[in-house]
Symmetry: C2
Subunit: 366 residues, 2 copies
């Protein structure tokens, strides 16, 4: 029973009106934080002018999982495409502890002094492993991160390797359109990500250490074969002899491999990232490679092959997504899997049935 | 002008009627060669009775690329499924020259003497590489190939690894239904085929040689990690010490690997295929593994995981086939690829367009 009009009559426990909760967010702040959403044309204009803030925001759209963000992102990328493709794309890998962050810092400063503009990106599909990635902690590239001509962007957050790699590849396009003439794509070198990086760069650089005699065991054979250059870090002080010995071991190992498709003979150099020794020679090597492959046509050939590769990778990814997210498929998938597990049908028959369901659903739903 | 009725009047060059071409094929032969096509039920009956001729013919259907053969094959396989699954499936790999054929010959005879029935299959997707495969030349397993309780079948002819592997996997089912209680799946060990073999066997055996100090370099790290047992061949005569040294090197190397999922510690043994030394110990090891994994449930778990793996592999294969063979897709694929190569659209946009074409074609064609 309520007697609102007699409220004052109640003489028992009384609840004071009290005060309204103090807002935890400054109401005046809202206006400032909420920024107008740019149109794709405005993004493109900003990127082409080299506006780093707008570039960063566009990359965020590329990395977003939201459908509406992806739509804008694809429009931006497409408009940037004619202005892209003109950078040196360099993949950098090496086991954790090889000194990748120090090396990228010193390589980057070397390039900036020569008048280059550098974007540093990364592929690191596993969030768990991100501890090992230099870009997990951007501040580790102390000098470079303070430079206006350097754009450092950590790996897109965890997802499938294919998805992360695609985002990084699309970010390259935006960076190139924004005037960055050199792009580093770094990977921590623990899994399949080297292949992804290799398929989006012109030059693949492997950083190694002179170690305990296990030099060749420490890396996967496939990665050695991908490298256009192997550089042995920490060739300084007492370590110079060891580094040079490691270099000749690597040179011997490289002799065992079949000739490269590019016609380039991979080089092995020693350097010290920390003491900035031998860095010029590394970039001379990379310049030499670029001139060599541009002259013999391999540079252009490889770029085209990479574009094809990514097209078919994207098709296969999209195809799988469409299939497994199809309602008819996903509603029957578990049951079919159980039939396979019970030895009632073969995996191949199961696949055929799921395929028929998929095709049937598409034709009836339109 | 023609005067047919006056043909005989023509007195110039004359063409004689001549004789009818002699047939190059004996017309009486046709009846003998053409055999009655069995019904699926007859195939199944023959297989369950252990009729090797009918088993062979059924395997030929499994391997056939023809649609009508595949339909019959799938019906046979499905009817055989309830009788399958009861064999020991053993994968055998090793680099060319490790003595795989001699070893399989002697292992097989050992098993036959113990009353087993053995099917020897192979996966060798590359026709070019088939020279290296022992089963390219079946006669190299001299003793075994004369035994009635041994069924030796070369790898299905060249095709995609996925296709070849599926056919081999389905052949296992037929062999098991025909009463073979042990199945060897051999691979020449040059590429990705080990993974395919590993995903269809219970025990994975790696044959190695005591070599020139390069033992560990010669094989891919991934293959070592797959092995449930490593056996060093040619441990005879002067070579015994070297083989035992290699064995202890392998044992040390195995210590570096993380524990296996099965809980089993992979063993390293020495033997001589040629002199038939140490063969019993190898089969004691495999028996021990089977008992161990059946007790801890891993045997059953792995079989189920393998069935699931093959289901999803089949789905992905079927999906790609359907997509790329779609007329709308295949008619536009080249043009879209060119647009990607001309930097007009991104690989991702290209993939999306192809996908839309595919889905559109399916919904309109019904």
């Amino acid at each position: 029973m309520e007697h609102p009009e007699n409220d004052d009559l109640y003489k028992g426990l009384k609840v004071n009106k009290g005060i309204v909760d103090v807002p935890t967010v400054n109401p005046y702040l809202k206006k400032r934080v909420q920024r107008r959403q740019y149109t794709p044309a405005e993004y493109v204009e900003g990127i082409l002018k080299g506006n780093i803030t707008i570039l960063s925001q566009a990359v965020t759209l590329v990395e977003s999982a939201k459908h509406e963000h992806q739509q804008i992102a694809q429009e931006i990328i497409e408009k940037c495409l004619p202005y892209a493709g003109k950078s040196m794309r360099i993949g950098i890998t090496g086991v954790p502890g090889a000194g990748k962050s120090t090396s990228i810092d010193v390589f980057g400063m070397h390039l900036l002094k020569k008048g280059h503009k550098l974007a540093v990106l990364a592929i690191d599909p596993s969030s768990e492993r991100s501890k090992g990635s230099i870009l997990g902690d951007k501040t580790r590239m102390e000098t470079l991160s303070r430079e206006k001509d350097a754009f450092i962007r950590p790996s897109p957050s965890a997802g499938s390797l294919g998805g992360v790699a695609r985002k990084t590849r699309e970010t390259i396009i935006l960076c190139e359109a924004a005037g960055f003439d050199t792009v580093f794509v770094e990977t921590v070198g623990v899994g399949q990500s080297e292949t992804a990086v290799h398929s989006m760069v012109d030059f693949f650089l492997l950083i190694q250490l002179a170690g305990t005699g296990d030099e060749l065991q420490g890396i996967k054979r496939g990665i050695m074969e991908m490298a256009d250059g192997i550089i042995i870090n920490k060739a300084d002080g007492d370590n110079v002899d060891k580094a040079q010995m490691a270099a000749s071991q690597f040179r011997n190992a490289l002799h065992l491999f079949p000739p490269t498709e590019s016609g380039w003979t991979p080089k092995v150099l020693t350097y010290s990232g920390y003491y900035n020794i031998g860095v010029k020679e590394i970039w001379d090597m990379i310049d030499e490679y670029m001139a060599f492959t541009k002259k013999n046509g391999y540079f252009e050939y490889k770029r085209r092959e990479q574009a094809k590769y990514w097209m078919y990778e994207s098709i296969n990814d999209t195809l799988r997504d469409t299939f497994y997210n199809n309602p008819a498929v996903s509603s029957m998938l578990n049951q079919t899997e159980q039939q396979v597990l019970q030895n009632e049908i073969t995996p191949f028959v199961a696949a055929k049935r799921m395929m028929d369901l998929f095709l049937g659903d598409i034709s009836s739903s339109k």
